[in-house]
């Protein structure tokens, strides 16, 4: 168990360092990006005096290290902000206030995160089932007509943009067949049933794209395993094709599927912008794109850190699963 405890500790320390590095990079990138942040934040109709005041208020004139120091301080101990008329306390971990809305970024993220997680985790279940299932099927039926059809379908899936699949799904399912209402986000805590029904189409459109990749990966990994010597052993001992495929070959596909899944889950938390936009889901991705457009630095940094955290978390989970699945792997 010391091994596992040590692994967690090393991972935790590594995560913190990674996230701090990401925050530094985002700060530097935004610092050197040309454009008048105060003007953008204040709006097109602001007078030069007003713009100047905004710049003062946001400490835009301070040197980079001072602003970053402020950010770190807020992150670990909390921060007090004067909004002109009153003083607002932002508790640690404080990611600052939005330039645009003066809203606390931590609170903003907490409202967006459940939406993104609902979308991604639900879609993940679907893409794993669909993708791995299709992969197994096409590895099993390799060389036959059904396999070629499956390959063609998955290839088409990879090649179709999410907004095409999503739009078609919406037009057919909600418009023509009227099986479902047009999706609208309902929180899981408010009404689990409505949550699921409303997310069904977003899940499907995100999952269909991803499933294609998983199907191809599963198929390739299984075919590779099927060519290995130990498969020949079991065939030579009269073990049936079903057990050979389901027990021995599928196991070989486990590792690459876990690795790819970790990547996809991590990046989809912030990267499912198209799906979120198409279905009007107020998630992290949409908010992030908006924040980048208006150079809302605190929001961007906060969101990027959250996304980074999920990528790192997903990979750590993958490493643990990997070691559980294959005893030859030692966690380090």
């Amino acid at each position: 168990m010391t091994g596992f405890g040590g692994f967690l500790l090393r991972r935790a320390v590594g995560t913190v360092i990674t996230l701090l590095a990401i925050s530094v990079i985002v700060y530097v990138v935004f610092y050197v990006t040309p454009g008048n942040v105060a003007q953008i934040t204040c709006g097109p109709r602001c007078s030069p005096a007003q713009v100047h005041q905004v710049a003062e208020q946001l400490h835009l004139g301070d040197p980079l290290y001072a602003r970053y120091g402020d950010f770190l301080q807020g992150l670990f101990t909390g921060h007090d902000y004067s909004t002109g008329t009153s003083v607002e306390h932002c508790e640690a971990p404080c990611l600052g206030l939005s330039y645009q809305t003066d809203q606390q970024v931590t609170a903003l993220i907490l409202t967006k995160l459940p939406v993104s997680l609902s979308l991604v985790l639900g879609a993940m279940v679907l893409w794993l089932l669909l993708g791995v299932g299709t992969g197994v099927l096409s590895a099993w039926r390799r060389g036959r007509l059904s396999e070629r059809v499956l390959t063609a379908v998955t290839l088409a899936g990879t090649a179709t943009p999410v907004f095409v699949i999503g739009l078609v799904l919406m037009i057919v399912v909600c418009g023509e067949l009227r099986l479902l209402p047009f999706p609208q986000y309902v929180a899981l805590t408010d009404d689990p049933e409505q949550w699921a029904w409303n997310l069904l189409l977003p899940w499907l459109s995100l999952a269909l794209i991803e499933a294609a990749t998983f199907a191809r990966l599963t198929r390739a990994a299984m075919l590779e395993t099927l060519a290995e010597d130990h498969i020949r052993t079991f065939r030579a001992y009269g073990v049936g094709e079903r057990a050979v495929i389901g027990r021995h070959a599928l196991r070989g596909a486990f590792a690459p599927v876990i690795a790819l899944n970790a990547n996809n889950v991590g990046s989809a938390v912030g990267g499912a912008v198209l799906t979120e936009t198409l279905f009007g889901l107020p998630g992290i991705g949409q908010e992030l794109v908006h924040a980048v457009k208006v150079v809302d630095l605190p929001v961007v940094v906060g969101m990027v850190l959250v996304i980074g955290f999920f990528v790192v978390l997903a990979n750590a989970v993958a490493d643990v699963l990997y070691a559980v699945a294959d005893r030859r792997v030692v966690l380090a």
């Binding site: 130990h230 052993t233 079991f234 065939r235 030579a236 001992y237 009269g238 073990v239 057990a243 196991r251």
Partner: protein, 530 residues
């Protein structure tokens, strides 16, 4: 009633005929060896006995009857009952022949449950029983290990246990000892022998190693290009072969008993190592692969370094060439301390397939040392490469071909040409012939000897095969656990070994004479019992 009856068997892969009109029978309880070099079709025959070519695209003709089953006509169910149930295959290369993800006991139990209505518990108990039978110590606990936690010899035992699980009438062993050290090989062959004595199982042994066959079977069938060359009782075929091919094959097999033909003049010491030590790993995981090794090599002489896997012989070879820095000690060349690689000391590698870049012509590979020395004149380079290829028995025009167009022996010749390109005075050969068939092996060994006489090369010949090492070496060093346990003139080490480990190694070498093999087997029993 025969256990196996094969009549006029042919196997075609696309346009290639791998087996061509082969017929033989095997009585219940008898043992037959299919002996041949790579590409002779012997493994294809073994697979055909279990109908493993079905649905692979291979065309199988003729009649195959195994344990009363007509393999050509049997239905899927009947075939599955035969496989593992009545005829069980012991595969080669034990690391990849077991599923890396499951416990060894579970894999054996799975096979058992295919053929017997048994509970998981009962199947697991049977797995432990057979593992114990093949000599896995503490079988109940070790049955929960995964393949990578077993040594090579133990994995081979586990595969034999799997074959025994359903008490088959026939064992088909496909190169069961090829990946193993000579002492472990002897143990496995002895195990197969005892099991056959006890259970009366028939054995079909597929091997490239005539010595292994001599140790284990009653009858030998020599194959070449998919056809039978010679078939008869083992003592007759190996003792007085009738066919020229069998005679050539036997002549090529290196004998551990035969002394080396005296070599040319010996000159001054060119390479000298003192107190060499190399550690790998750090902290608690650190271990010394080579520990306090000193040696000298003279001009025109061959130093053989022999040892089993893990003895540190490859690490030592790499340090001599300068590919690895020693942790302690030094390598002196011409009396001067030396660091790093230098053109005077070259290496020939074991695997001629992976030590040549498949995407470059062999000419480019051989030219590398020339270019490294600063040669820029393309015409000169081509001429020199052509010369080198001719020198090693290839053709000038071969330099524009790619490695896959050559056979294993030819690729090794390319490797030697590349080593010669730097005009070295010392060549370290790391298992230069262990991937080759015996006849090819003999040719490559002869080439090395010829080059040595002509160019006055000093050779360091690193290998696990005791007979090959004796064939080429003037002096021999026996390595074990990173140290040299015994060294001296080859004849002295082989004929009057002082160290008990050397004696055990020599006792484990398979003999070509079945009578000698039987005596050695008894001697081994005594050695292990002591």
């Amino acid at each position: 009633m025969s256990l196996v009856r094969v009549t006029d068997l042919t196997v075609d892969f696309g346009g290639l005929r791998a087996v061509d009109g082969l017929s033989f029978t095997l009585r219940p309880g008898a043992a037959l060896a299919l002996v041949g070099e790579s590409g002779s079709g012997k493994s294809t025959v073994a697979s055909a006995l279990l109908g493993l070519h079905r649905d692979t695209g291979a065309r199988v003709g003729g009649a195959i009857e195994v344990a009363g089953v007509d393999v050509q006509r049997a239905g899927e169910e009947e075939l599955r009952g035969l496989r593992g149930g009545r005829a069980a295959m012991v595969f080669q290369d034990p690391l990849s022949s077991l599923d890396p993800y499951y416990a060894i006991g579970d894999q054996i139990a799975e096979v058992y449950r295919v053929h017997h209505r048994a509970s998981r518990r009962a199947a697991r108990a049977r797995a432990v029983e057979v593992l114990d039978r093949v000599g896995i110590p503490d079988a109940p606990r070790r049955s929960r290990s995964r393949p990578h936690e077993f040594s090579g010899g133990m994995r081979q035992r586990a595969l034999i246990a799997m074959a025994l699980a359903c008490r088959p009438d026939l064992l088909i062993a496909d190169e069961p000892t090829t990946a193993l050290d000579v002492t472990v090989q002897a143990q496995i062959l002895d195990l197969l022998h005892t099991l056959r004595e006890e259970t009366g199982t028939g054995l079909l042994l597929v091997t490239h190693d005539v010595g292994v066959a001599a140790e284990s079977v009653d009858e030998v069938l020599v194959m070449r290009h998919g056809r039978v060359v010679e078939h008869g009782p083992v003592a007759d075929v190996l003792g007085s072969p009738a066919e020229p091919y069998t005679r050539a094959l036997l002549a090529a097999v290196p004998r551990v008993e035969a002394a080396r033909a005296p070599s040319g003049e010996r000159g001054e010491v060119v390479l000298e190592a003192t107190g060499l030590r190399r550690e790998f790993g750090r902290g608690k995981g650190a271990f010394a692969a080579v520990d306090d090794v000193s040696l000298t090599v003279r001009r025109g002489e061959t130093l053989g370094i022999v040892g089993e896997s893990g003895s540190g012989k490859t690490t030592l070879g790499r340090m001599l060439v300068g590919l690895l820095e020693p942790t302690a000690g030094e390598v002196r060349y011409d009396g001067r301390a030396r660091a790093g690689v230098r053109p005077d000391v070259q290496m020939v590698f074991q695997d001629p397939v992976s030590s040549l870049n498949p995407r470059r012509t062999v000419g480019e590979s051989v030219a590398d040392p020339l270019r490294a020395r600063g040669e820029r004149d393309e015409r000169l380079i081509r001429a020199r490469v052509g010369e080198l290829l001719e020198r090693v028995g290839l053709e000038r025009a071969h330099q524009d071909r790619y490695p896959h167009e050559f056979s294993g022996g030819q690729r090794q010749r390319v490797g030697i040409a590349r080593a010669l390109a730097a005009e070295p005075r010392v060549i370290v050969c790391d298992e230069p012939v262990s991937a080759l068939d015996v006849t090819t092996q003999a040719q490559v060994v002869a080439l090395l000897g010829e080059l040595q006489r002509e160019l006055g090369l000093a050779l360091v010949f690193v290998a696990h095969d005791l007979a090959v090492v004796r064939q080429v070496s003037d002096r021999v060093a026996v390595m074990r656990g990173g140290r040299i346990v015994e060294s001296g003139p080859a004849d002295q080490v082989y004929d009057a070994p002082r160290d008990p480990y050397t004696r055990r190694l020599l006792a484990a070498v398979p003999s070509l004479d079945p009578a000698v093999a039987a005596t050695r087997r008894t001697a081994r029993r005594e050695l292990t019992e002591v």
